[in-house]
Structures are given as structure tokens and as C-alpha cells.
Symmetry: C2
Subunit: 155 residues, 2 copies
DNA sequence: CTAAATGCAAAATTTTTGCACCACA
DNA sequence: TGTGGTGCAAAAATTTTGCATTTAG
């Protein structure tokens, strides 16, 4: 974990950006919440614990910067705020299953898209650098609940 | 096209919603801009031509309603506003290729995800009702442009 | 030392809400 | 005719920006 933080700080320095304590704390937050998809405000609240007088604007600016540097990715689950997660370059592509019942977001891995990407590039000339796949539906628990009601659709 | 509008209006009536002129004009807008991905404000500006004293709030409320009824889908391309497009139940699932150079959004069809969905449901119990796949990269034109610069990465 | 980064507060944007009035069914 | 829908304006929520001050390199 420390390694990763250092690696990213080096990346910052090499890009002529300064490694400020604020930026470090924000990065640490993402490393320590690797499974979550934090919004700017959530990051802000977590970070205030370790760096009480940080400003929300700094959080926004840092998230923007880190996304620009391909250290974070923006994601949007449709809840009105932009969320961020660390890019895992080594790891397999992972995607999201968003439960329409309880709103929980599960992840799964899949590299099955690569052949599709190649096909698309051949057919359209579009050079793909990244993809994002989301499945919407109902998680096991919510699916079980709505079976009780044996309804034919929305409540 | 008229058929489709009528079908949707019936769906509204059956759900005990009223078919107001505002709702009709908004629906017509989506039928006439089938290839675009309109935001609330864009819809509002288009619709004001035919119904000058419509309110932006009504547009938001109508888009919400239509999304709830599964007539529209919300999409988010990361430009800070929610966009909408008509759901095409008969048609194949289509997805988006978003150019990071010029921002244009192309579409493509693919049903290749179905086997993946089945696998996931078997493994996780997650009942999938919909999916969304986005490819990010560079369209043919932008890819050609950046080849000139023969750069090794970001500018 | 100096350009970049920060904090604060104000502004800009997008979306939601309260309420009196209107109109579809 | 009555309830759901609408317009307006105000509020809420999220994100961006200007500027004086601080700080990393």
C-alpha cells in the first residue's frame, strides 16, 4: 500500500505537480477505501479527520487532477454526484452491478470485452482506450423480496 | 412515428397518468431526435418552440416520469448533466462509443453480452434487467490527428 | 524565491420543491 | 368536478471560480 502511494507521488512529481499533504491524504483515502466508490463530498468528510482545514474546493481540484493523470476514474451511478475510484492498471477490468432495489453496487471482473473491442475497431476505426460496463437489476436479496410480492412490475 | 406516440400515450393513460400537451410535445421531441441524447435543458429549448410557456420544472418532472415508466433511459456521459434517450424495446441493445478527442458519441449494436449476463446471474444471483456499455477512445478522425503528432501519450 | 496550490466565500449549474392555479379524464 | 399537472420562483445540491495567502521544490 505504501508502495502504491509512493509510486503515485512520483508520478505527480514527474508531471511537475507538487506533492502536497492534502493530495497525499486524499490519495491515502482512496487506497484505504479501495472497494468503495467515493464522491467528492465523501472524500472531503473522510479527509477532514486527518486534515481538518482542507477545503472542499481542494478536494474537487485534486480529484480532477488525479482523474486527468489517470490515477482515478470518474464513474456515475445516477445518484446525482460524480464518484471516483482508483484505476487498477495491473488488474483485470472490473465492472459494476447496480441494484435497483437497494442501490448497492457489486463488482465483477471480466475481460470478455476484448474481442468485441477488436471487432469494433476494425469495423469503425474507433480506437478504444477504455470501457465501462454496468449491469442494472436486482441483487439476490432484493430479487428474493420482490418474489414474495409476486408482482408483475413496479410497486 | 405517429403510431409510437400513440402507443406511449396509451401507456400513460393505462398507468393513470394524464396525457397533457406538454408531455406530448416532449415525447414528440424525443421521437424527432431519435439519434441524439438530449439533456433536460436541451429538451426545454426545443420544446419552447412549440409550447412557449412550458416550465423547465415540467420538463424535469416529465423526464423523470418517462424514465420511471421505462419509456426513456437516463444516460450520463460525464458532461455534468443527465441525458435521456428513448428505450428501444424491439431493437437490439445499442451502446456508445465516446470520443475523448471531440466528444462525439457514436452508437453500435451488440447483443454479445447476453451470455455474460447468464453466467453472472448463475454465479451471483444478481437478476439483470438492463445493461449499459460504454467505450471510451478516439474516433477515426481524432485518432488520425493525434498520429501526426506522433506523441507517446497525453499532450 | 516563485510558481503552483490552498482555503474561503461567492458564483455558476443542474435539479428539486412549494404553492396557487389550471385542465385532463 | 376533482385530482393530478403546470408554471413560476425560490431552494437545494453539486461543482467551479476568484483572490489573497501559503507552501513545496
Amino acid at each position: 500500500m505504501k508502495n502504491k502511494l509512493n509510486a503515485i507521488c512520483q508520478k505527480l512529481q514527474q508531471s511537475e505537480y507538487k506533492v502536497t499533504p492534502q493530495r497525499q491524504v486524499i490519495l491515502k483515502t482512496f487506497l484505504e477505501h479501495a472497494t468503495e466508490h467515493l464522491s467528492a463530498e465523501e472524500v472531503y468528510n473522510i479527509v477532514k479527520g486527518q486534515h481538518p482545514d482542507i477545503g472542499l474546493a481542494t478536494v474537487y481540484r485534486t480529484l480532477d487532477l488525479l482523474a486527468e493523470l489517470d490515477i482515478l476514474t470518474k464513474i456515475n451511478f445516477g445518484d446525482g454526484r460524480t464518484r471516483y475510484e482508483m484505476v487498477q492498471h495491473e488488474a483485470h477490468h472490473h465492472h459494476h452491478m447496480i441494484c435497483l432495489g437497494c442501490g448497492r453496487v457489486q463488482e465483477f471482473d471480466a475481460d470478455l470485452l476484448e474481442s468485441l473491442e477488436n471487432l469494433l475497431t476494425r469495423k469503425t476505426g474507433f480506437q478504444i482506450t477504455d470501457h465501462q460496463l454496468k449491469f442494472y437489476g436486482y441483487c439476490r436479496e432484493c430479487a428474493a423480496k420482490s418474489e414474495d410480492k409476486s408482482g408483475s412490475g413496479d410497486i
